[in-house]
């Protein structure tokens, strides 16, 4: 297959492009900066520029769409333009170019209204109740993508949850940086169970979805390691792997929620376009549970995570040791 990967210069995008190359496909990466993915070609441009997009999809069989505006702040219109408008532009161009498959990379936050998620499967995206501009626009975009699903253009949505791993300059790097500065608090008692996705597993699942899209199109799948852990354990695991002191002080969850913006600032992800989906209200996110029923995902995508949480942490530690 000739596959177009949008947003391939980000942490997840790069890994996905590499995984698809490794699967023996011909990969073209589409983003504003060179992707640096070995074995792939680059088509530089912006997802909001129809002309760029049209030329990027020419001759393509399948698209994996990761390009999005992920940051926590910014004018709502910009999220709309990139996440919804960009997706619409891409779908229009894909139809015009007779592209047959689209894997839309989404986020569990599209169906998250703020309450704990404990072992449920993917619910329909819900822009009206999603929290914040990122989740809201991704939800609208996912609905747009899935509504374009047809026998001619088969669409599947995949929602990797909390992707991390070596080379992650966002989630992991931020946690480590804050912990090192002694500014990383635990929210509440830190026992809320949170599932996450090791980078190789996220990339593997998206590559698997590309292979399975003809059979499972029209559906949305949450992707995780399937190993929920108390959030404090995850943070300790990441800090320990990076060789920094884990957080020892905590902020009551209620205080954290009330002072949401302050806490968010401590966790802020620098605005950028190509990062993996990142949940918005971290105070809420880190004091309530988020874990999912992965049975349907694994059965339908013919995929199981190759790297366990513990193995992932070991690789992270190795990465920090050699960095």
């Amino acid at each position: 297959m000739r596959v177009l990967v949008t947003g391939a210069s980000g942490f997840l995008g790069r890994a996905v492009a590499a995984a698809i190359v490794a699967a023996g496909h011909e990969v073209r990466c589409f983003q504003r900066r060179p992707s640096g993915v070995a074995g792939a070609t680059d088509a530089l441009g912006s997802i909001t520029e129809p002309a760029d997009v049209t030329s990027a999809v020419a001759g393509i069989d399948a698209i994996v769409h990761l390009a999005a505006k992920v940051s926590l702040a910014g004018p709502p219109a910009e999220f709309e333009t990139v996440n919804v408008g960009g997706t619409r532009t891409l779908i229009d161009a894909a139809r015009a170019a007779n592209v047959q498959r689209l894997v839309f990379v989404s986020s569990p936050s599209v169906a998250h209204s703020g309450a704990s998620i404990t072992g449920s499967d993917a619910l329909p995206a819900d822009p009206a109740h999603a929290r914040g501009d990122y989740a809201r626009t991704k939800a609208a975009a996912e609905l747009l993508a899935l509504s374009a699903d047809s026998p001619e253009l088969r669409v599947v949505a995949v929602r990797p949850h909390l992707v991390w791993g070596p080379g992650d300059t966002q989630l992991v790097a931020r946690i480590v940086e804050r912990a090192r500065a002694g500014r990383l608090p635990l929210l509440g008692h830190g026992a809320a169970l949170i599932d996450s996705t090791y980078i190789d597993n996220a990339a593997g699942a998206i590559a698997a979805a590309l292979e399975r899209v003809d059979a499972v199109h029209g559906n949305a799948y949450v992707i995780t390691n399937g190993e929920p852990r108390p959030v404090a354990e995850l943070l300790v695991g990441i800090c320990t792997a990076a060789g920094v002191e884990p957080p020892t002080w905590s902020v009551p969850a209620s205080v954290a929620r009330a002072a949401g913006s302050v806490i968010e600032a401590a966790w802020r992800v620098v605005p950028g376009e190509d990062e993996p989906p990142m949940t918005r209200f971290l105070a809420e996110q880190l004091s309530t549970a988020h874990w999912f029923d992965q049975r349907r995902t694994r059965a339908d995508l013919h995929w199981t995570p190759a790297v366990t949480l513990d193995e992932g942490l070991a690789r992270l530690a190795e990465h920090y040791r050699t960095a």
């Binding site: 404990t118 026992a191 169970l193 108390p230 320990t240 004091s287 992965q294």
Partner: protein
């Protein structure tokens, strides 16, 4: 004529209508309006030939649309002040059953005239009229059999009126809380007396919504607001509520009341009903209390009864009565398969292993040894600081006959229930065997249930008589337990009066001097109701026949060699009480019987020496203290203990180290621990050597568990495999290394549960027809050499995406870690995608609840054998009240779920 005046608004006329749309659970397609011509009835105020319109719910058309041919009709009659809305779940479930190819029942649920959305007729409709009204309706509908009536509250009476008048169509009767008879000696319930009081009736029922509101407040749990509103929908104005007042006014308070004769007619006719009957009861009913259930059971002795502990008057809202009713119909009316007693296989097993003689009655040795001066019982400390009390067979035998004859003299009859609130003692033994010989049914509930549990158990078992020591009698009095009261000790007159005690044991003995006894009970007669521990929900009454109790003592004889002349230290009540039945010489050691952990090693040694005991029965708690106090033993004590040839720790599993320590105290004895439950007291047995052998057999252990040994000679153990949802669906099988529900059969397994028809059904689900099996609710597996391993309780099975996980295996592995005392494995999340959480008690105990330290969490994950999402540390794990050892995993799972979704860190 009705003897109470109702407000003018009660005579308002209004046509029938259909309910407003949008009432929760009510399908508008079920509603029908039917015009019915009224037939005449002597001297009532109605007009023959007049026509009245009924509103009713009917799924007939839906069944026809489905192409389902009804197997019969369920005719449902609501009470006061409800309407056919009460039956919505039944209509829905009956229709749903038809869509899945199960037997299709047509359900017709009426709104009685002047009630619900039926016509307001403006005239009083006493009971006889209402019974005739229902007859008029079914004629108009052309309803023919088979019909099963179903009534609630006063609708129960009306439905039974129809039932006794239509034997040609009647296939069965079903009832929710109702009453058919008002005792002449007892007043009607207080709330009704109040409603009937002068000046209250009209105001309470018609002018205001007080009666309606009071009734709707009886839900357990409280009714949702939308459901309450639905019940109120037809009763918005005083003009709509005349029927409510009319119904209350029609309660036959005494024999002079208009409707008394009709009520009497129906109540008496009930005795000749032979169709299957089902009584579903909510005991928390301020109006229709258990005494009305007793009356109904008395009139319909063949009825299946299920008391839903915790449910009340609005039982239809409190529990799944519809599922229960449809399940019962399927069992009782569609597939009739009579239960045959004991399969040939069981008899074969018995024939091989049991002595050639038939089962001996429990009083066999009391008759055989009536002239023997050998010792039967020794009570080491009958009172504080008293000398041992020695009772010969001659004395025990005479005492038993005397008490039995005395009980008979004061009116205790075969089949009467006698609640025994007597601590283990020579008195208890004598009273117990007296009741047994007389054929009175002994009700035994353990004080360990706690006062609430005990009260619930005693009330539920509806004893006719209570025999108690002072504390028991005081509780009986204070808590209003039913039954004539008999005191073990002679009490001062004032206390007797205060406690409502009619006789003392000594009175009975002198009344029964002639020892004149009626014919003894037969093996199939019920002998005892024993209460379960209540560690898995409200305590259940377990019914044993004489034959089954004889089989228990025979099993004890076969397994432990306890028989004629054996000296037995009776430190574990259930088995100890069987000493006289076994012909054994039993001794009760000096201990506070309500606190087994007060038993000392010295006391055991003294008991052994007093009676030359070779067999010792103890509870695990007692065993632990005996081991702990062994330092006080004298050389003579040790010598006495060395003569013991076997000892038994029963009641809960014991650890190998504890059993080994006890075995060291009794070096000549084989150490045993049995597996059983109230429903089957001795199912398997394992020795200390057996435990050690099993401990090193990793293959047999499978997913983990406690090895409880091999089935006793007359017991069969099978496994019903679990599916991925943790439900035991497998055929009963002996296949090794398959985890499933443990199912047992033996001549000494219980007969049935008391008034818990649904529980009975669940405990005998999918067993071989015609054989008596018991589904234990425990999960485990058999190994290749036939040993049973217990892996936990069925409701505690964790259903993960990788398959089911049973708790005991991970718990044992984690408990063995240094720094861990006890551990519990529970599941959080929805069935099928649950995560395993381990909760531990550490050494030393944690001071507060929290996540385990990383090192401990890692150690736990290293040995658990399962992916573990979280490890929590608590100061103390919740345990059930009776055993103080069984961890309450259900409660713990709910608590863990809360913590792990961000809830506050509370104690479990």
């Amino acid at each position: 004529m009705v003897s109470f005046r109702l407000p003018r608004s009660a005579t308002a006329l209004a046509p029938a209508s259909v309910p407003p749309s949008g009432l929760p659970g009510l399908d508008p397609d079920w509603s029908r309006i039917v015009d019915v011509v009224e037939s005449s009835l002597a001297d009532d105020g109605t007009t023959p030939g007049a026509s009245h319109a009924w509103h009713l719910l009917d799924n007939g058309e839906q069944l026809a649309a489905l192409g389902a041919e009804p197997v019969g009709t369920i005719l449902c009659v609501h009470g006061n002040p409800t309407w056919s809305y009460l039956w919505r779940d039944l209509v829905a479930q009956a229709t749903a059953a038809a869509t899945t190819g199960r037997p299709a029942w047509r359900v017709i649920a009426v709104d009685q005239l002047d009630m619900g959305f039926s016509e307001r007729t403006g005239v009083a409709r006493p009971l006889a009229r209402r019974v005739r009204d229902l007859d008029d309706l079914t004629r108009a509908l052309g309803l023919t059999g088979p019909v099963v009536t179903f009534g609630h509250d006063w609708g129960g009476v009306v439905s039974l009126g129809w039932a006794v008048d239509h034997p040609e169509h009647l296939a069965g009767v079903m009832l929710l809380n109702t009453a058919i008879h008002q005792s002449d000696t007892e007043p009607i319930p207080a709330p009704l007396r109040l409603a009937l009081a002068r000046g209250v009736l009209g105001a309470g029922t018609v002018t205001t919504t007080a009666f309606l509101d009071t009734t709707l407040a009886l839900g357990h749990p409280a009714l949702p607001a939308a459901v309450k509103n639905a019940y109120r929908a037809p009763y918005r104005t005083p003009a709509r509520r005349g029927g409510i007042g009319g119904f209350v006014a029609d309660i036959p308070v005494d024999a002079r009341h208009d409707s008394h004769a009709e009520l009497d007619r129906i109540a008496e006719s009930l005795r000749s009903l032979t169709v299957p009957a089902l009584l579903l009861w909510g005991p928390r009913d301020p109006i229709f209390s258990d005494r009305y259930l007793d009356d109904l059971s008395d009139r319909l002795p063949h009825a299946a009864v299920h008391r839903f502990e915790g449910a009340g008057h609005l039982i239809a809202e409190d529990v799944d009565y519809a599922g229960a009713a449809l399940g019962w119909l399927a069992e009782s009316l569609v597939e009739l398969s009579p239960l045959v007693e004991l399969s040939p296989l069981v008899e074969l097993v018995e024939a091989q292993t049991a002595p050639a003689d038939v089962l001996q009655p429990l009083w066999h040795y009391l008759d055989e040894l009536r002239d023997s001066d050998e010792t039967a019982l020794i009570d080491m400390a009958p009172g504080k600081g008293t000398d041992p009390r020695v009772v010969s067979w001659r004395l025990l035998s005479r005492r038993v006959r005397g008490i039995a004859a005395g009980l008979h003299q004061i009116g205790v009859r075969r089949g009467d229930r006698v609640s025994l609130l007597v601590p283990p003692s020579a008195d208890l033994t004598a009273v117990l065997y007296a009741c047994i010989r007389l054929g009175a049914i002994v009700v035994v509930a353990d004080a360990g249930l706690g006062l609430t549990g005990l009260t619930r158990a005693v009330r539920g078992a509806r004893p006719d008589h209570v025999i108690g020591a002072l504390p028991g009698l005081m509780a009986a009095r204070a808590l209003g337990w039913p039954g004539q009261r008999i005191s073990v000790n002679r009490l001062p007159t004032a206390s007797r009066r205060a406690l409502g005690v009619s006789y003392a044991l000594a009175d009975l003995i002198s009344l029964g001097r002639d020892e004149e006894l009626p014919e003894p009970p037969q093996p199939d007669d019920v002998a005892a109701v024993l209460f379960t521990s209540g560690s898995t929900g409200p305590a259940k009454g377990v019914v044993y026949t004489h034959g089954q109790l004889s089989a228990v003592s025979r099993a004890l004889h076969a397994q432990y060699g306890v028989g004629r002349g054996t000296g037995l230290v009776a430190g574990f009540a259930p088995f100890a009480l069987l000493g006289p039945a076994l012909g054994a010489r039993s001794v009760t050691p000096d201990m506070d019987v309500t606190a087994p952990k007060t038993l000392t090693a010295t006391a055991v040694a003294a008991a052994v020496a007093a009676i030359d005991a070779t067999v010792v029965f103890l509870s695990p708690a007692a065993l632990a203290n005996v081991v702990a106090t062994q330092g006080e033993l004298t050389p003579a004590d040790r010598a006495a203990l060395a003569r013991v040839t076997s000892f038994l720790s029963a009641g809960a599993p014991v650890s190998e180290p504890l059993l080994a320590s006890a075995a060291a105290l009794m070096p000549g004895a084989s150490a045993h621990t049995p597996y059983g439950m109230t429903e089957g007291l001795l199912m398997t047995d394992i020795t200390l050597d057996g435990i050690r052998e099993a401990a090193i057999d990793d293959e047999a252990r499978g997913p983990g568990g406690v090895c409880v040994g091999r089935p006793t000679a007359t017991t069969r153990v099978r496994i019903s495999a679990l599916d991925e949802t943790g439900t035991a669906v497998g055929e009963l099988s002996e296949a090794p290394q398959v985890t499933g529900e443990i199912v047992v059969s033996a001549p000494h397994v219980k007969d049935h549960y008391d008034r818990l028809w649904l529980t009975d059904q669940a405990a005998t689900r999918m067993v071989t027809p015609g054989e008596r099996w018991h589904r234990t609710g425990d999960v485990g597996h058999l190994d290749a050499s036939g040993r049973l391993w217990v892996e936990g309780r069925l409701p505690h099975v964790i259903t993960t995406p990788h398959g089911v996980v049973t708790p005991v295996g991970p718990e044992l592995a984690v408990s063995a870690l240094a720094g861990v005392d006890r551990a519990a494995a529970v599941g959080v999340g929805p069935a099928g995608s649950q995560q395993v959480v381990i909760v531990v008690e550490t050494v030393p105990p944690a001071t507060r609840v929290g996540l385990a330290e990383p090192a401990l969490a890692a150690a736990v994950r290293g040995v658990a054998g399962q992916p573990v999402a979280a490890v929590l540390v608590v100061p103390h794990l919740p345990t059930d009240i009776r055993h103080n050892s069984k961890i309450d995993r259900t409660r713990l799972a709910g608590w863990a779920h809360g913590i792990l979704t961000g809830a506050r860190l509370t104690q479990p």
